[in-house]
Symmetry: C2
Subunit: 221 residues, 2 copies
């Protein structure tokens, strides 16, 4: 990496979206300045860098912001192409497929998962839905080690952060993801053997405590 | 194009997502077999090609399905790179920005727009929101001819299909997009001068009639 490169990540420790970007930067060996954000009192830097959505993570590369975690992964993959490809480089069809599944995770997993802990009265329906969605992903995984077929890649990075929240979904959705989706859990443990993942994911208990406090503030408990 | 190429598009005439893919294929000069789908009685081909979302458009290239219109645009751009680039080829940063705005259109424009005609009682709030969203896009456009700076491209294609629905939003949202967002209308008219766009977009009146009938079936009118 050239000396003049300046990479800053505006992030929040419990964000599964931020985890994606942290993992991708680690996979590429990119050094960066991590700046934890207060989401309930947003910094002027965050508002300036992501005026449209005002959301983390924001990747700032040489002063220019890249928003949305999946686009950050694509940006990182294109900007630092030498180490560990995240998206399949060939053929084009596999790239489209990887984008499809990452999008599925954003649209389906994220929406159902959030409904479990952030709503009142929708937990049962949402947790049933989440299990179905995770089973769809499990069947897409099949007997492969990773979603990226042989190597850890884009779809794995898109999904793995949610693993640190599984305790939250189990607790508030009254489910047991481990017994429902054993292959997915085996996959997650495989991913966690990578240093990039192990360092990016917080302890499950820390996330559960955080959400327990959030729910009190939201008057859900 | 090699003789063995087989390109099929499963689509529905009024879909602004399908319009994107039709425009992109036309821009690239790709010949394809257009197959209109009955969305209320889905074909076995559609269910087989998009088992997860069961949605059009589906682009089938040599037997393999590519789902989700924005990924189809990226796939088309990568598969037929010679004619008219859709995404900026360089630098990477501009590509990330184009993806950001297309995603904004999917997340914001589409959601607010649908709420205007497909719900009861949310029209006023949704139409106010839509105008704000369109103004954000207008300010991103600025004094440029196209969102893709000098040439018609990815973001233009992502947005232009909605133009054929503006009559629907005006009618059911009780708004006047033309007077609220004159620069956006000028941009749309500029886009419509392209053959690829003119051929892909249906007449506004045809869309309005279609939605009027849909609303009756949904018992909204």
């Amino acid at each position: 990496m050239a000396e003049e490169e300046e990479v800053i990540l505006l992030d929040f420790w419990a964000s599964m979206f931020g985890m994606r970007t942290r993992i991708a930067l680690a996979e590429k060996g990119v050094k960066y300045d991590y700046r934890e954000q207060d989401l309930w009192n947003k910094s002027s830097l965050l508002l300036q860098m992501n005026p449209v959505h005002k959301k983390i993570p924001v990747l700032i590369h040489n002063g220019k912001p890249v928003c949305e975690s999946l686009f950050q992964l694509q940006y990182i993959d294109e900007t630092w192409p030498d180490n560990n490809s995240l998206l399949p480089s060939d053929p084009t069809y596999k790239r489209a497929l990887a984008k499809f599944w990452a999008d599925f995770i954003d649209e389906k997993v994220n929406v159902a998962a959030r409904r479990i802990w952030a709503t009142k009265g929708e937990e049962q329906e949402a947790s049933k839905e989440l299990i179905e969605i995770l089973k769809t992903l499990e069947s897409e995984l099949g007997d492969k080690d990773y979603f990226g077929v042989e190597t850890f890649g884009y779809v794995d990075i898109a999904l793995i952060g949610f693993y640190s929240w599984f305790g939250v979904y189990d607790k508030y959705g009254n489910i047991n993801i481990e017994s429902e989706c054993p292959k997915l859990i085996a996959w997650a443990k495989r991913c966690l053997q990578r240093e990039s993942v192990a360092k990016a994911l917080p302890e499950s208990e820390k996330v559960t405590t955080f959400i327990s406090e959030r729910r009190k503030k939201l008057e859900l408990d």
